[in-house]
């Protein structure tokens, strides 16, 4: 993604390219670079977890302790936010966390012409958020029946205020999947655009005669931004997992 500088647009990296046209009964199910990246991520996750936990020794090897650290980390997040009943959702939260984390980090590996950040597309993040919120609603209805809708009714408020407060609560609930998906997508998108722009400055400055003296400045900034982006990649995966847990805790415990 970096050091192109041939006047490439900074948003060119988000373009979806068709790699393998597949058409199933008129539905365009072609393998795109986005899909390929997700398959690679799945392969990496599966391979890593399979081989690192293959030995299952009591004293873990290095790889095994990495998987155990991730496991413990997600398990603690679920326990802290949902409680022990929430552990039935552990597979969901763990899958979401590791999927988003690996996709974010894969987007940070620069391969000229190929690098693509799957989570910088709102279609992906919104699908994940809709999955989460559907599970929250369905499990809430299954667990509490219609009593689940009590989360829309604020407690300790005079009856006269209900017509005002219930729509507010409903809008607040609907806005959850939106803020969940927009947060992840916007962070990744903005970060990668910023990286590309500052990397582009290097090339422009190098080609500008005397001003080439200044070229190391954006280079330094790009290095710093790359570090920041790696941090953001991990942080956003964590935030996604934490918010999933917070929403699930509503479904598990009913009204707040």
């Amino acid at each position: 993604m970096a050091a192109d500088g041939h006047g490439h647009s900074p948003i060119e990296q988000f373009e979806i390219k068709e790699l393998l046209p597949i058409n199933i009964f008129g539905i365009d199910a072609s393998l795109t670079n986005s899909g390929a990246y997700m398959l690679v991520a799945l392969g990496l996750i599966f391979g890593f977890l399979y081989f690192s936990t293959g030995g299952r020794s009591l004293v873990p090897t290095r790889l095994q302790s990495i998987s155990e650290l991730i496991y413990e980390f997600v398990a603690n997040t679920v326990r802290e936010n949902v409680g022990n009943q929430g552990m039935q959702f552990f597979p969901l939260v763990f899958s979401l966390f590791i999927f988003v984390l690996v996709l974010n980090l894969l987007g940070m590996i620069p391969i000229p012409g190929i690098t693509f950040t799957v989570t910088s597309h709102i279609a992906i993040t919104a699908s994940l958020a809709i999955l989460v919120i559907s599970i929250v609603v369905l499990y809430g209805l299954y667990k509490h029946g219609l009593g689940f809708f009590k989360i829309f009714v604020p407690s300790g408020v005079p009856l006269a205020l209900y017509p005002l407060l219930i729509p507010i609560e409903i809008i607040s609930f609907i806005s959850r999947p939106i803020s969940l998906s927009v947060r992840l997508f916007a962070n990744m998108l903005a970060g990668h655009i910023a990286l590309k722009i500052f990397a582009g400055f290097i090339g422009v400055l190098l080609g500008a005669g005397v001003w080439a003296i200044l070229a190391p400045l954006p280079l330094l900034l790009t290095v710093a931004l790359t570090a920041l982006e790696v941090l953001v990649a991990v942080l956003q995966a964590y935030v996604f997992a934490v918010l999933t847990c917070i929403y699930l805790s509503d479904a598990v415990h009913g009204s707040h």
């Binding site: 326990r79 507010i168 609560e169 809008i171 939106i178 927009v182 947060r183």
Partner: protein, 144 residues
């Protein structure tokens, strides 16, 4: 997988009550010692984390709060606009534009504020529970 589960033999289903009580006591003790030994877990979150990670955390909080607010406003305005353009004219045959849009925009802003206040409160208190020791084999109330 806790180490305790792996250490026991085939007959871990037949622990005597005293054994189990002893085991529970030891696992609680281990959990407490782990909490003490782990510097990065609960203690440092409350105050003594370094300045650099502090500012990163604040940045994350600010981004989170802003999307909460924007999400509320966008959803409210969207619902109002949809009511005005599709539902009210086609179902009830009344032209309400821009009444519903304004009303729901305001409701949405209130919902956004509510989101911000709620997640702000959650950040302040911080949902933290003391971490437990390893699970006792054959104990149903621990972890499903």
């Amino acid at each position: 997988m806790s180490p305790a589960e792996k250490g026991s033999d085939r007959n871990d289903g037949q622990l005597s009550p005293e054994d189990r009580a002893e085991f529970k006591r030891r696992s609680a003790e281990l959990g407490r010692r782990l909490d003490e030994a782990r510097p990065g877990s609960e203690l440092s979150k409350s105050g003594k984390s370094s300045k650099n990670s502090d500012s990163n955390e604040l940045m994350g909080r600010a981004l989170r709060l802003s999307t909460e607010l924007i999400g509320g406003i966008v959803v409210g305005a969207g619902i109002g606009w949809w009511l005005d353009t599709y539902l009210m004219p086609s179902v009830f045959g009344v032209k309400t534009w821009p009444l519903m849009f304004i009303v729901f925009f305001l409701l949405g802003s209130a919902a956004g504020m509510l989101n911000v206040v709620r997640s702000g409160m959650k950040m302040k208190t911080g949902p933290s529970a003391p971490s437990k020791g390893p699970a006792v084999p054959g104990d149903e109330d621990d972890v499903k």
